[in-house]
């Protein structure tokens, strides 16, 4: 009875495996060939576009032919591979086969399969970062291969505590996702949140880590990115050390990290390569740029439409004569100019690099000059819009950069209707949103609200490393101090 059912099971499995192989055979790049060994014969199957054929010939077939094995277990010993999997599980076989592994079945008992990793290492080499540029500091960036990316991190953080948790998401794409954290530093609750949210993803395709970001973000409709993404392994490592959690997605050269707060989107790697006050000065420049980029045009609209009293007499002549003869009210004028800039920028991004640059210059100069001469816009506004566009590029994070681009438009509309009052109202609504926003359950504008003086050490001003002895409270690290704080500072006196 027992025996009978087992054979039936085998029969069923064999059938399933057969159907799978048959299905695959329909595809032109699938190879399934019988090989006669010394004692038995085996069926070798693989997808030739994924597997490295050279490895198969040199390291698999050559050894198989000489093998005197009689079962898969014995066969395992004769091939020079460290990780060989023997399984009956049809879904594992299917998945690995489709990821480029080699399947070996015994001719006599095809229900079991041995899987060998002969995946071809295609794809690009590790190159310099293209989105997050920094003058000093490491120049490596992630690539599409998950293993390489993990290795880039591990190389920098040789710790037994560095945990990599593998998951598979996407109904059709079966994308591999790795959750990386330092055990003993990262908060358990944060880890659970990330794991839980990734498990809950139900979608057919996960092409890039940005897909994951949108699916696990606390508020999917917020214009603000709640998880920080980076293409630099060094950035990931420094975040992991702080107690953050990183998520890497196979096929995406961007890692995602959380929990984070709004300040971090404005800090660049260069902030840490320069002396702290110089770095802080540049960070302030960046923050001022953001304020300028969001508020410059709305203020122009508000002041010129409603609050002429604010303009000093000396500036008045400049403003009035530059607006003389322009047929539109400032609101329409500003919207037109901002739209033009956005079109130029969008065109620049979509076009190939060399053409894009030309478009930027041609568009900027020709359209700008022409529209001033044709009396469609005032040259003061042109300067403001151009400056605002330039200023928005200082934000190191691309997603935040886009947020700032978009944020300007509601401000302009509000300014056009209610002047400065409108700007204040719009700002308040955005602040209200930010106050409610969380990143993996942690407050998004954290060092400010709730006020945590200790976390302000890396907000507006990047304090010296000697001040950064504690990990951010935001992350609730299990081990807050970075260094042994008890060691007293040596006292220095003159001539000692």
């Amino acid at each position: 009875m027992k025996w009978f059912s087992k054979t039936q099971q085998i029969q069923a499995k064999k059938k399933q495996l057969d159907t799978l192989l048959k299905k695959l055979m329909e595809s032109g790049d699938f190879v399934s060939k019988e090989h006669k060994l010394k004692k038995i014969s085996v069926q070798v199957s693989f997808v030739k576009t994924l597997a490295d054929v050279e490895i198969i010939h040199r390291d698999v077939i050559a050894y198989l032919i000489q093998s005197e094995a009689e079962s898969l277990e014995e066969l395992r010993e004769s091939v020079p591979f460290e990780t060989v999997m023997i399984t009956e599980d049809i879904s594992i076989i299917e998945e690995n086969l489709l990821h480029g592994q080699l399947l070996i079945q015994l001719k006599d008992d095809p229900s079991k399969g041995m899987l060998l990793d002969v995946v071809a290492k295609n794809g690009r080499q590790v190159t310099i970062p293209e989105v997050e540029f920094s003058v000093l500091g490491p120049k490596e960036s992630f690539i599409e291969a998950l293993d390489t990316n993990v290795s880039l991190i591990r190389k920098r953080l040789p710790l037994p505590n560095l945990q990599v948790k593998d998951m598979v998401v996407g109904k059709l794409t079966k994308t591999k996702v790795a959750i990386i954290y330092v055990d003993g530093l990262a908060d358990r609750e944060n880890i659970n949140t990330v794991v839980q949210r990734i498990e809950d993803i139900e979608y057919d395709q996960i092409i890039d880590s940005s897909f994951i970001v949108q699916m696990i973000a606390d508020s999917a409709n917020s214009p603000f990115p709640q998880l920080i993404d980076t293409e630099k392994p060094d950035h990931v490592v420094s975040s992991l050390v702080e107690g953050k959690i990183a998520v890497l997605v196979d096929g995406s050269p961007f890692a995602v990290m959380g929990p984070t707060n709004i300040v971090e989107f404005f800090s660049a790697f260069d902030d840490y390569t320069l002396t702290w006050y110089i770095a802080s000065a540049f960070r302030m420049v960046r923050l001022i740029s953001v304020a300028f980029s969001v508020f410059a045009t709305p203020l122009y609209v508000a002041v010129l439409t409603y609050h002429y009293q604010l303009i000093p007499n000396t500036l008045m002549a400049t403003l009035i004569s530059s607006r003389m003869g322009i047929p539109f009210p400032p609101l329409v004028e500003a919207l037109l100019m901002e739209l033009t800039i956005e079109i130029l920028r969008e065109a620049g991004v979509r076009l190939p690099t060399k053409v894009g640059q030309t478009i930027g210059i041609v568009g900027g100069i020709v359209i700008g000059t022409a529209s001033v001469q044709a009396n469609l816009t005032s040259n003061v506004l042109l300067i403001l819009v151009a400056m605002a566009a330039l200023a928005s590029f200082t934000t190191p994070n691309y997603k935040m950069n886009n947020t700032i681009r978009i944020l300007r438009f509601p401000f302009i509309l509000f300014a056009g209707f209610w002047g400065m009052l409108g700007i204040a109202a719009c700002f308040s609504i955005i602040v209200a949103h930010l106050l409610k926003l969380t990143s993996l359950g942690r407050p998004y504008i954290e060092p400010f609200v709730p006020l945590r003086i200790l976390d302000l050490k890396d907000a507006f001003i990047r304090m010296p490393f000697s001040w950064q002895k504690m990990r951010p409270i935001l992350l609730r690290p299990q081990d807050p101090p970075r260094v042994n704080t008890r060691r007293a500072r040596k006292k220095h006196d003159i001539d000692e």
Partner: protein, 368 residues
């Protein structure tokens, strides 16, 4: 958990909602309005009830990318039954809506000032658009003529007068503007004063200081005495003055001038005020020869004597006019608990006021 909000959608919805509520009537786009920069008030001959108001607005021309061109000014005059009507009457001759938010100067002719300025100033102090730093001045002659005049300087009249008054308030005459005027107008122990401006050929000049009894013009102090008035009125630094010593003039640049008021109650209920001034300056120019070490003390002495004499005359004159431009009442008020405004008006003309001036020459320039 908190509800997930959608700020951008939210904002768009509100914008659309408010779009229906808001009209565009209230916009004041800077190139669609006329910014009055100077207003002048004159009396109308043979009509005591009417006022002639003149304003000047700058007309800017399009720059066309070639820098800012010098604006032309467009002057408008209307006769109104009362000062308050001027605004509405002006609207009838103006191409664009008139705005007073960038007003720099208000001129009153002497005749108007004699009748009292309060009714005119009321509009400006009530209007939130008007700043507190605008210049008020009395014109010797018609205010309209000054506004309509052509001057050598290539500036707008409004800017010209404002700079003229402000420059002088840094040097020889005390600072005046709407704020100071209102401050001393409302203060029971103080009377306001304003500069007097006169047109001379193609120039404007400050003729002196117009003294007011509350809002009514009473008399003026000539420009030559303005520096002395300033010394009596406030502590300051800067300014020049010259003093005749035996027909030979000595010019002094002031470094600092400190004034203090001593207040004493005499027996019999009388009050006495001593104004003490300590003037430090350096010798600018002299027609005299400086000989040895005796000349400087001599000049100092002579100066003190001259200034004290003049100051005493000026204070006497103010008392005769019953005008407390120096704000002595206010100084006493801050020292005397029993001070009251009605009594002060009676006491002031008979008050015993002594002036005590001390001059010190710190240096004589780079030659002896």
């Amino acid at each position: 958990m908190l509800k997930r909000s959608k700020p951008i959608l939210y904002i768009l919805c509100i914008t659309l909602l408010m779009f229906s509520l808001s009209g565009c009537v209230r916009t004041r786009v800077i190139d669609d309005i006329h910014l009055a920069q100077i207003v002048g008030y004159d009396t109308v001959p043979n009509d005591d009830d009417s006022v002639l108001g003149t304003i000047s607005v700058p007309i800017y021309t399009q720059s066309g990318g070639s820098g800012v061109l010098q604006p032309q000014s467009d002057n408008m005059s209307v006769i109104a039954h009362r000062g308050s009507q001027i605004r509405s009457n002006l609207e009838s001759v103006s191409e664009y809506p008139l705005e007073v938010g960038k007003l720099m100067t208000i001129l009153f002719s002497k005749d108007i000032a004699e009748k009292g300025l309060y009714t005119y100033i009321d509009f400006y102090k009530r209007n939130p658009d008007v700043g507190r730093g605008i210049v008020l001045a009395v014109s010797d002659g018609s205010a309209g003529d000054i506004i309509n005049g052509q001057y050598k300087t290539n500036r707008l009249v409004s800017e010209y007068i404002m700079n003229l008054v402000n420059n002088n308030s840094r040097n020889n005459s005390p600072k005046t503007n709407l704020h100071y005027f209102l401050y001393s107008y409302y203060n029971a122990g103080m009377d306001p004063f304003l500069p007097i401006i006169k047109k001379e050929e193609d120039d404007l000049k400050i003729e002196g200081i117009a003294l007011f009894k509350k809002d009514r013009y009473v008399d003026m102090i000539p420009y030559s005495q303005a520096f002395l008035f300033k010394m009596l009125y406030q502590s300051f630094a800067g300014g020049n003055f010259s003093v005749p010593i035996k027909d030979k003039y000595v010019s002094i640049s002031s470094i600092s001038s400190r004034v203090s008021y001593r207040f004493k109650k005499l027996k019999g209920g009388n009050q006495e005020i001593t104004i003490k001034i300590k003037q430090k300056g350096f010798l600018r120019e002299t027609e005299r020869k400086l000989e040895g070490t005796t000349t400087i003390p001599y000049i100092q002495k002579a100066m003190e004597k001259y200034l004290t004499k003049n100051a005493n005359t000026m204070v006497k004159h103010l008392q005769e006019l019953n005008v407390d431009s120096l704000g002595l009442g206010d100084h006493i008020r801050s020292n005397d608990r029993g001070w009251n405004a009605e009594k002060w008006n009676e006491v002031y003309p008979h008050l015993n006021i002594k002036v005590n001036i001390d001059v010190e020459l710190k240096q004589t320039g780079i030659t002896d």
